[in-house]
Structure formats: structure tokens, C-alpha cells
Point group: C2
Chain length 305, copies 2
Amino acid sequence: MSLLSVGSVAFDALETPFGKTDKIIGGAATYITLSASYFTNKNNLVAVVGDDFPQEMIDILKGRAIDTTGLQIRPGEKTFFWSGKYHNDMNTRDTVDVQLNVMGDFDPILPTVYNDCEFLMLGNISPSVQKKVIERLPKRPKLIMLDTMNFWMDTAWDDLMDVIKLVDVLTVNDEEARQLSGQYSLVKAAAAIQAMGPQTVIIKKGEHGALLFHGGSIFFAPALPLEEVFDPTGAGDTFAGGFIGYLASTGDVSFNNMKRGIIYGSAMASFCVEKFGAERLFNLTIDEINERVAQFVKLAAFEIV
Amino acid sequence: MSLLSVGSVAFDALETPFGKTDKIIGGAATYITLSASYFTNKNNLVAVVGDDFPQEMIDILKGRAIDTTGLQIRPGEKTFFWSGKYHNDMNTRDTVDVQLNVMGDFDPILPTVYNDCEFLMLGNISPSVQKKVIERLPKRPKLIMLDTMNFWMDTAWDDLMDVIKLVDVLTVNDEEARQLSGQYSLVKAAAAIQAMGPQTVIIKKGEHGALLFHGGSIFFAPALPLEEVFDPTGAGDTFAGGFIGYLASTGDVSFNNMKRGIIYGSAMASFCVEKFGAERLFNLTIDEINERVAQFVKLAAFEIV
């Protein structure tokens, strides 16, 4: 089934304990759509860049069969830029620079060829833009998933509440879940967020895995213990893209299938962190992905006798 | 098979966001042996208390079929005392007071009726005392497990290295594993610790579950997401006691059985945190434990199709 991903396509400059990059391609929607492209073959993208954005990168997206009709290229303007530096533990980072550029007044225009949207992934952008996307679709998708962050909780609370109540799946990290709900216990936090609208809440815990709350059920997904995390940028978006891409490819939104989606998403995220930026997502093979998923199965399997 | 647990039996005074206690019964060996008592019926204890230690508590241990022949009661002396206060997040705590008392010169005397020791659990005490226990046993147990903490890494490094190389299983939390190994990645940390001696390393991550490294294999065990953690004191010891108690009850030290042991240990720890101190471990039923284990199975189960 078709997936529409909306979010930032950007330049990132990164510094980790392993090195630093000049401007490389980043942005939530880049990671989401690349990750999803390994599962569903109807991948539509709505985003905005400036005319400084390299054609070569657009060709990489097209090469992954991503439909870029909805990628606005604004002449004479510059692409969104983010620069960040990771601390030694790789779990925390400082933002060094943000230049909104074209993202400052992003209007999410939906090409009519995207009208059949069945799965919608709203990457981390302003809640009012996220809501516009839902309103502009002629038919409500089968499943709407939304990612957000503490910045919007601090600056756009009412807008965030307005859009959260419209979605099926919310994905946040543990700190964001606590801030959003005012609850320390993640069980209570998820229940409070479910009461805001989404029936399904995914709490990402990085190296500690993820929790999937669906109705009254809970699934605890492991993360693959890694020898080295080279660059965590985009891991959460890659996870989300793998999750919703898998759901879209199967058309099945049951709890059991969401559990599989979490595992596929976690496998994709484990690739993402192996290289700087999104590079590792350009040329994966299905065999590599299946082999990684098999590692998760082995990692989590036990049998009570 | 028989289990010998060695460690502290103590008085604790605790303060959590939910309330505070006067002196209640604590100590690593108390939690370990109570937890193990639900699995193996040959539970031997070596520890030391003062004559201020209540007979009522010794009767509770005996009521759980724990052999207290090795519990030294020193006339005219006082029991080890620890007082701690938890922060609001329950993951960190401050030590308010420590009075070593009888623990200051604890000599682990092993009654000859304990000579058949097949499983040995060395709770968190001085590494030199832990080593003495191993040396005093007439026959090497089938499995030796050791718990330790950052305090011994800071103050008794050489003694710690001397005893670590003699054991089969080391259990530490993630911070301790990083300090002990000098590695941030837990995969690298476990490999470094395995090179110090133990073939098996269990890294406890509290609410994030636990990692079991055994030879070249890894198992990621979930923790039960809880609505409320009332008092985390003793959860790690309860986990360890459930783990080794399960192994001792089955006599099976294979990787697959250790995975089951981790699940039983985690289930026991999830009870421990529900009340102050060790109280929740006094009167559990096998049905309650099996029901809790079934929750773990449900929590972690997924199937790739």
C-alpha cells in the first residue's frame, strides 16, 4: 500500500567522537523515506529544499523508487541546515547551529497523484504543518503516525494537542514521553498519551530498545547491542520509516504485525548508526536486512519449560 | 542442587518518594537467599549479624527452608546498617549513613554441613572475603557467581581482579561494567570482562532489562514495565537470587537455561520493588511467580513471518 512521508530534507554537519563531516544530506523525511523504501514500493515524499540541494541526492532517492513529485525546490533559497556535536557517550548532543531557511514557511503541498495515501508518516516538523497535511488529504489514511519532540511541547503545545488527537500512532523517546504526559513511569506516560488520541504509542529508548503500547497490550523490543555506534543521527527516523514501511508493505495494522514492524524498524536503525548520516541506507540488500532481523530473533528468544 | 549464598544481612533505613522506613531488614544475602528459596530447597547462608538482629527475622528465613547454620550472631555487637534516600526518578540514590559494625571484620566461616556446595553466590562484599569463601570450600562448585560494585573497583582493584578470575558468572550494572572494563560499549565491556575470567557476564540495566553475555552469544532480557516502583532496594540481589536459584534447581548451566534463569530472576525483581525492603519476598506463591513469568513471555514474544 502507498506511504506518504512528510518532513524535513536537510543539510547536516555532524561531529561525533569518531570524526566530523561537512554538509551532508540529512533531515527526518530523508531517513524515513529511505528506510521505508526497502519495504513498500509506493513511497511518496512531501518536503522542501532550496536550489542548493544536489541533484545527485534527488537521484539517489529516485533510485530507491521514491516519488519526489512532492519535493519542492525553491529557487534562490537555501535548504534547512542543522549542525550538531555528540558527547562522548553518544546519547546526548548539542545543537551547534540551526538555519531554518526554506523550512521557516514550509507549506506542505500534496500532489494529486498522492491522493491515494493509505499510510501517512508525519516526521518531526511543526504540529500546525503536520495538521495541514491531514486536512489536505481527500480521504483519511488507514494509519497516521506522528513523530514530534520536546521543542514543540515547549513552543506549540496547543497545536500539538490539536494534531495528536487525529493520529493513530505517536512515536517519541522516553524523555519526550515523560514531558508530554507529566508522568515518570512509562506505563503511565503511555496511558496518558493514549488518552490524548493515539491508540498506539511507541517509546524509543535508543540502545535500550523500544516499548510498543497498543490498546492495553505492551511489547518490549530489544535493541541490537553494538560494538560501535558511529553516528546516531537519524536512527529514530530510520526506525520509524522501517516500521511504517513494513506496515504499508503488508497492509496489516494488527498488534502482532506492529511487533514485527518494530523489529524491522530496529534492524534498519542498527544499520543507520554504522556510518555518518544516511549513507548506510543508500545500498542495503534484502539479504542484509533479513540477516539482521534474524539476529534480533536470536537475541530475544527464550523458552520457558 | 545445593546453593550457598554469602553476603550481608543488614538493617536498612530507606526513603523513597513514597515514604520512609525505620530500620528494616536488608542486605544482599537476605534478598538473594529469599529469592532463591522459591526455586531450590537446599539454601545455605553464610553471613554475620549482631545480637540486635531480631529472632523473628531469622525465623522468616528458616520458614523459607533456608539453612542458617552459617549465620554468625556476634554477642555485644551491632548489625551492619545502611541508610539511603532515593531521588524522584528512583534510578539514583544517595547513601545517608553506613555503619559497618560486624561487617568490618567479617570472617566467612563455612559450616562443614555446607561442604557439598554446588552453586555459590558471592553477594556484594569485599573481594578478599569473597575469595576466602572460594578457597575454604573443599571442592570447587559447579558454578560460582559474583556480584560487586564501583566501591570495590575504587578501593580494592587488585583483590577484585584476584577473585574475578576464579568465577564463572559476574553480575554488575551498566555503569559498573563500564568502569570495570574502561569501555563504553556494553558489547566491548562484556568482552573485556570475559577476558578477566568469567565466561558469563550479566549486565543489569534496571528498568531497561538485562544483557546476558555467554561465550560469544548474547541474550537481551526485557524488564517488566511497571506502573509504580515503590522501592528499588534489593532488586539486583533479588534478580541474582532468582537466577542462580533457578539454575541450582535445574542443575543446568547451559546458555538456554541461563536465559530462563534471567527471566525468573527478572520476575522476582519485579515483585521486590512493589513494597519496602524484602517484605514482598516473604510470602509469594508459585502461582504468582508463574503468572509473572507468563507476562514476560507475552511482553517479549514476536514472530517473523
